[in-house]
């Protein structure tokens, strides 16, 4: 759960395009994964979640894909809008209890 570096990777997309944000998680025993969105000056907000017994889950304009073989999680945002500009974090629940371990985060910038 420790941060992966001093600088967040940045994904820059054109408004209306689809965005794909990737995350590698650390614990093969994790059974629950969440994507959070953090806008500037705010705390993280829940976007979508997925359990380890699923490989895909869809929400409104967002889809989360889970590949347990390679411990990889992705968030797809359809028709990206300027309001989607934020930092996106994946989080996993690696053990019992309500703890979350956060991944390194990706900054999404949407160009009008």
């Amino acid at each position: 759960g420790e941060s992966v570096g001093l600088h967040l990777p940045t994904l820059s997309v054109q408004e209306g395009d689809n965005s794909i944000i990737n995350c590698a998680y650390s614990n093969s025993a994790s059974d629950y994964f969440i994507w959070y969105k953090q806008e500037s000056g705010k705390g993280p907000q829940f976007i979508i979640d997925i359990r380890s017994n699923m490989d895909k889950r869809q929400g409104q304009r967002v889809t989360v894909l889970l590949n347990k073989t390679v411990k990889h999680l992705s968030l797809q945002i359809a028709a990206t809008q300027p309001g989607d500009s934020a930092v996106y974090f994946c989080a996993e629940n690696p053990s019992v209890g309500n703890m979350l371990t956060f991944g390194g985060g990706t900054r999404l910038m949407v160009k009008p």
Partner: protein
């Protein structure tokens, strides 16, 4: 959903001093969490605070540096003691939400230590 407020929203402090951050929730919750988010980085859990018991600290965080109070089910404080520039971060509190393992987060306290 829970509404969480934090005070102060930001502060600039001198090294060697201490700052106490307050977290207020609009509903009663058993568990509250405190996170640190260093500049440009992800969130790291500092400790879990349950009402009526001592906080449980994660590896790398100690009570002498980050004392936590939890006097009731809607309030908690985190103190950053004997601050150094390395403590410059955003400090966030959170509470469990309705979905398993989901958490509601406060807006954060941006601390700069000079």
């Amino acid at each position: 959903s829970a509404v969480i407020s934090q005070k102060p929203s930001r502060d600039i402090c001198q090294r060697g001093t201490s700052l106490t951050i307050q977290c207020q929730v609009d509903s009663q919750v058993t568990m509250m969490f405190w996170y640190r988010q260093q500049p440009g980085q992800s969130l790291t859990l500092i400790a879990t605070a349950n009402q009526g018991s001592e906080a449980t600290y994660e590896s790398g965080f100690v009570i002498d540096k980050f004392p936590i109070s939890r006097p009731n089910l809607t309030f908690s404080t985190l103190t950053v003691s004997n601050m150094s520039p390395e403590d410059s971060s955003i400090y966030l509190c959170s509470v469990p939400a309705g979905r398993p393992y989901e958490q509601y987060f406060g807006p954060g306290t941006r601390l700069t230590v000079t």
